[in-house]
Symmetry: C2
Subunit: 227 residues, 2 copies
Amino acid sequence: MQQVVAVVGGTGAEGSGLALRFAKAGLRVLIGSRKLDRAQAVATEIAAQAGAGEVTGHTNPDAVSKAAIVILTVPLSAQVETLKSIRTNFVSGAILVDATVPLEIAIGGRVSRTVSLWDGSAAQQAARLAPQGVPVVSTFHLLGAEALKNLAQPVDCDALICGDNPDAKAAVSALAQTIPGVRAIDAGSLENARFLESAAALLIALNLRHKVNHSGLRITGLGEVHR
Amino acid sequence: MQQVVAVVGGTGAEGSGLALRFAKAGLRVLIGSRKLDRAQAVATEIAAQAGAGEVTGHTNPDAVSKAAIVILTVPLSAQVETLKSIRTNFVSGAILVDATVPLEIAIGGRVSRTVSLWDGSAAQQAARLAPQGVPVVSTFHLLGAEALKNLAQPVDCDALICGDNPDAKAAVSALAQTIPGVRAIDAGSLENARFLESAAALLIALNLRHKVNHSGLRITGLGEVHR
């Protein structure tokens, strides 16, 4: 069966970049947004660009209600509210992927600084708000929107994967590796998500300082990593 | 003139690895330790292995009093005390490089977890304790001790460099790049050191999970970076 992926906040730069890559890989992708018409318009654009897969626009709760993997790609300032709006819509066996970066801009600060969250990380905050039984996996922060959108190039970046449920991590690793160039690397339990969120903010800081828009990160020295 | 580098805590794994590489590059390296005889023994070993440079053992204050660049490579639990023990010994124009990783093991916890410091990072803590006029640069955390010690191989890792003094960052970048394989990358102001310290802890977590001892990190997508 074709894998169904919902991208909540899928009209944003990061969400639409991921959606484009997953569509290109032939997946069924549901673009979720607070506004249905906006979701549909972005879905039409992505479908045309990808020329593969199947992309449709939905409200966030509707997208979640049809997906095996739900990817949350909203700004930190919208994370809690969005999670509350979709928490009753997960299907049995669904996985929640959190890609939120706790940037200071959420409180009016800088995009290159982070805030500390009570739960330790945005992903752990998502896990606290997720419905019982829905495993949370933290990843995709490091894959920059501009790199994702450039279909002519593979994405020169590893996807570090954190979570407490091995099956969910395996499913999300396989999903990550549908993107050309991306290597999925197990980075341990969900509490390590703070390292990924910090590394994502570091890449943003490097983009600003070096005037580029798609810095990425490769881990070296791991030997044979499943790809 | 030959550059003189002091490694405070130079008998530890990270410090002696850096010292070995700098000696190999032909530099004058002062191994600092609380115990003079230990510093001298390690200096003799490093000198033999490197077969280049000039390596001698000193007490920490004595090493600092003779160096243009002072690298602090002690565990977090020793950072404050060590800085206090050397703060009157810096020569005019000297640079302090902090490579401290704020690991939870400092308070009896795990080596793969970090603690949050009041100053925001170990490097900012070092800056608060450093003598006035001594610029602090944060780097070298990512270069693993095992990779540094294996002279047969280049170090497959970038050295991210944070600091508030451009001249000091340039000097330390040049020092970093005396190590084969290492690319120095400007990672912004000293407050960004928390990203580097977090990334170092991530590499430790990856080493443990993947049963390797020298994972590293490369930044991609920066285009032409001076090497």
